[in-house]
């Protein structure tokens, strides 16, 4: 018996010894001038042409450059690898002059041929390195007919039709320029051996633990101040918060609404917020059922208490949306647009007028998904608001992929409304893909609610083929007014991206593009 209790004591002491031995390492803080970022998932690949997730973009934007980039704090393009460019009269030929003396991290030079290689690899199925894909977002550049290296530093893009978002797409991660030499060397494994021209050089990727990038001392735009950045995938939001609180990471993105106050109230942390090109809305089925009547669609917009949703469910991490275009596209956003006010009485009278009092509606809700925020509580709150004005909403909830499989082919015969959210890089993308008559699901678009207005179609086509930003802005603003009035969607919220940093981190600001740019960051 005594032996038994001795064993128990020994086991206990052993455990204490382990704790004691290890505690020394655990309290040590993260090293100075090395930034540790808590990511929401393991990256899929570090080949910018092969990925689609914002999570991966947060690494890529620091390792690569595009021909152009978004100017700090805006969604307007400025020169990057290209010093300057010209656009032909007809809007179909773009000629870029490349910066001289830029080198990839592997030492090879950035040339017009290298740029051509990048786009040919993505777009030409017969290119010898097309097999290193697939390239899911290559359709961003589907208007490119031809890329020609005019001389060592001049590259010309020939488009099949004028396409205004072209420059903005070049600033997107799919437009980042990779090193052809390293693609040739590593083939399909380039995504694990990346090489670009960016402010940080890839150093190490330990699966499911970390991606390490180190300072590029020869960066053309001035070497960054940080020595290195370590990206850690921490998929569970609670664990991410705990790591932040315990000092295991210096920066976390996508702080859950419940934890924002924890960081905001603590002087050892800083909260950052930035509205982005995101819109959260309900697709309304304009083809059949009660919502085919514009008055009922407007009634839905009046009936939902968006301010309450944003403040209570999302706890201030979003702003009320007024129309289809997020305010982050400041140059194309119509400031005079007001959100539909919360007016249940008006909603009731519109529904009565249309003769749909007590109508039954089927509402597709998702469990989660990219940019969907808190879809289940939001769906429930919307259901309650609509019940107050006499609409009986039946919720059907689906896992994200299943949900997309149901919504993208169109709502006809299945549902009256569906939750949806989009993040885009150009004011053209979302309305062009989801509001035109030619974007109905059977024509390969995302207009799952079958909205159709010839005037909107015309405005969007015109805006796409104009290369004059002021002209485009005018057309988008007109479009927003019509769409707000027609109410093909219920406009709910524009998400504000957030991040928490330790107070040791300085010089950091979130970007409206939702990219994470770490060039100017320091850590003490």
């Amino acid at each position: 018996m005594r032996r038994l209790s001795r064993m128990l004591t020994a086991a206990w002491l052993g455990m204490l010894a382990v704790l004691g031995m290890t505690s020394v390492g655990a309290v040590a803080q993260t090293p100075p001038n090395v930034l540790i970022v808590g990511q929401i998932a393991e990256p899929k690949s570090l080949d910018p042409h092969a990925v689609t997730a914002v999570n991966d973009f947060r690494i890529l934007m620091n390792v690569y450059d595009g021909l152009v980039r978004y100017k700090d704090g805006t969604l307007q393009v400025e020169p990057a690898l290209a010093e300057s460019w010209t656009i032909s009269e007809d809007g179909k030929t773009y000629t870029f002059k490349l910066r001289d003396g830029v080198k990839f991290h592997d030492g090879s030079a950035l040339t017009a041929e290298a740029v051509k290689f990048n786009f040919d690899r993505m777009l030409d199925e017969n290119h010898p390195y097309h097999e290193t894909g697939p390239f899911p977002l290559s359709f961003f550049f589907s208007t490119i007919e031809n890329v020609t290296a005019k001389d060592a530093l001049t590259v010309e893009f020939q488009l099949s039709a004028p396409y205004a978002p072209f420059l903005s797409n070049l600033a997107y991660p799919t437009g980042l320029i990779v090193s052809p030499e390293m693609v040739k060397q590593h083939g399909k494994d380039f995504g694990r051996n990346p090489s670009g021209t960016g402010a940080f050089k890839f150093a190490e990727w330990e699966s499911n633990a970390k991606v390490v990038v180190v300072r590029n001392d020869d960066y053309w735009d001035g070497a960054p101040k940080l020595e290195a950045v370590v990206y850690r995938p921490i998929t569970d939001a609670n664990t991410r918060v705990a790591e932040m609180l315990s000092g295991g990471i210096d920066m976390m993105v996508e702080v859950p609404p419940d934890n924002v106050a924890t960081f905001a109230d603590d002087a050892t942390f800083l909260m950052h917020e930035q509205a982005g090109p995101h819109v959260w809305f309900l697709i309304l089925n304009a083809k059949e059922g009660p919502l085919a009547d514009k008055r009922v669609r407007q009634a839905v917009n009046y009936a939902i208490d968006k301010t309450a949703l944003v403040n209570n469910v999302l706890q201030g991490t979003a702003e009320v949306a007024a129309g289809p275009t997020p305010p982050a596209f400041s140059w194309a956003y119509n400031d005079s647009l007001q959100p539909y006010p919360y007016d249940p009485e008006k909603a009731k009278s519109l529904i009565k007028e249309a003769g749909h009092d007590g109508a039954e509606l089927t509402f597709y809700v998702t469990e989660g998904g990219s940019g969907m925020l808190d879809p289940i509580p939001m769906g429930a709150a919307i259901q309650a608001d609509l019940a107050k004005v006499g609409l009986n909403v039946k919720i059907e909830t689906y896992e994200w992929n299943t949900f997309l499989g149901k919504v993208n082919p169109g709502l006809e015969g299945k549902a009256d409304m569906a939750e949806m959210a989009w993040m885009t890089n150009d004011p053209d993308t979302l309305p062009y893909l989801a509001l035109r008559t030619d974007a109905w699901p059977d024509k390969g678009g995302f207009n799952s609610g079958y909205y159709s207005n010839p005037k909107v179609d015309e405005l969007l086509e015109a805006a796409r083929s104009s290369t004059d930003q002021a002209e485009r802005a005018k057309l988008y603003k007109q479009m927003q007014e019509i769409v707000r009035e027609d109410a093909p969607w219920a406009f709910i919220a524009n998400w504000k991206q957030n991040a928490a940093t330790s107070s040791r981190v300085e010089g950091f600001a979130l970007q409206p593009s939702f990219f994470l740019i770490l060039r100017d960051v320091t850590k003490n």
Binding site: R3, T52, G369
Partner: protein, 315 residues
């Protein structure tokens, strides 16, 4: 014995083979496909079709399975779409991490469970027994992911004694003490329920044995109490506890999914959840296959061990 083991292993082959077919069918039946998962909002029918073609998913289901089987038999488990690397590399790496976690948890719960069970049986109704029973009940009733978060909050956030998540330190580290530091909290969390179950069972089994005639005989012969308990009672109790530990091994492997998520342990459970969410069928296949094969092996191991311990089963 070796022919018995060989026979059992041979039986496992059709089981695993059938399993791969079931996994393939289930993955094909659930709505959504890898291309939609990759493209997300951009999943137009046109884009989906193009990407499916590039991923080789435009072939018929039977054809896809046939290709996969042929490659697999040559040791090629294919390439994961969602991680863009060979399935085998990922699966082996992840499974290794799970084995470390589940193995330590199993070791922990076996030692603590047996000790606690024996102690409380010997001191039945004493304060030690009551205290252990109370702890065991609490342990069995706690949801383990919640306990995990609580431990992180106390040991990592409040007291800063242990790291909150991961398997190795991000900077420096990478050695055994570093691994143990990261392993401590998840292994304890994962072992709590199984410790309770083993302790309860050991206690019951010991109590029954301690009332047996041969124990009284042993005591009457004048054997020391320690010897009676360790040699005579505990050894017999072990025979009925070992199969339960075998079953607990299954539970610990299953429970590892939650614990791996809470502690960001890079194990196979978390990998499978992500693989299913992204409809990464080849990764699911590889993961399920290795987990199933290990179940078969663990069961076999428990059976062999029981044979060795129980003289009644000896042939």
């Amino acid at each position: 014995m070796s022919s018995y083991i060989a026979k059992r292993l041979l039986y496992a082959v059709p089981v695993l083979f059938g399993l791969t077919i079931i996994v393939f069918l289930i993955m094909a039946m659930i709505p959504g496909d890898p291309a939609t998962a990759i493209l997300g909002s951009y999943a137009t029918p046109e884009n989906v079709e193009r990407l499916n073609r590039q991923l080789g998913l435009d072939k018929s289901l039977a054809e896809q399975y046939w290709i996969w089987l042929g490659n697999m038999l040559q040791g090629d488990f294919g390439r994961s779409y969602s991680l863009n690397r060979p399935v085998l590399d990922e699966v082996l790496e992840r499974f290794g991490a799970t084995l470390i976690l589940a193995g330590s948890a199993l070791l922990l719960c076996s030692i603590l469970g047996l000790l606690a069970g024996v102690y409380s049986a010997v001191r039945q109704f004493g304060w030690g027994d009551r205290l252990i029973t109370l702890f065991v009940l609490i342990g069995i009733s706690l949801p383990s992911f919640w306990l995990g978060l609580l431990l992180i909050l106390l040991f990592a956030v409040e007291w800063k004694l242990l790291p909150a998540s991961g398997m190795y330190a991000i900077y420096g580290g990478g050695d055994l003490p570093d691994l143990i530091a990261h392993l401590t909290l998840p292994a304890i969390t994962l072992s709590v329920v199984a410790t309770g179950v083993i302790a309860r069972l050991t206690r019951a089994s010991m109590l029954e044995i301690l009332r047996q005639d041969y124990i009284r005989t042993a005591r009457a012969k004048g054997l020391g109490e320690r010897r009676v308990i360790a040699r005579h009672a505990f050894k017999s109790a072990l025979v009925s506890v070992i199969p339960v530990i075998g079953i607990q091994a299954g539970f610990v492997l299953g429970g590892a999914v939650y614990i791996e998520t809470v502690f960001q342990w890079p194990g196979i459970g978390r990998m499978l959840v992500q693989a299913i969410a992204t409809r990464d069928i080849l990764l699911v296949q590889g993961g399920v296959l290795i987990v199933a094969a290990s179940y078969v092996l663990f069961n076999l191991l428990a059976d062999v061990l029981q044979h060795k311990l129980d003289p009644r089963l000896k042939t």
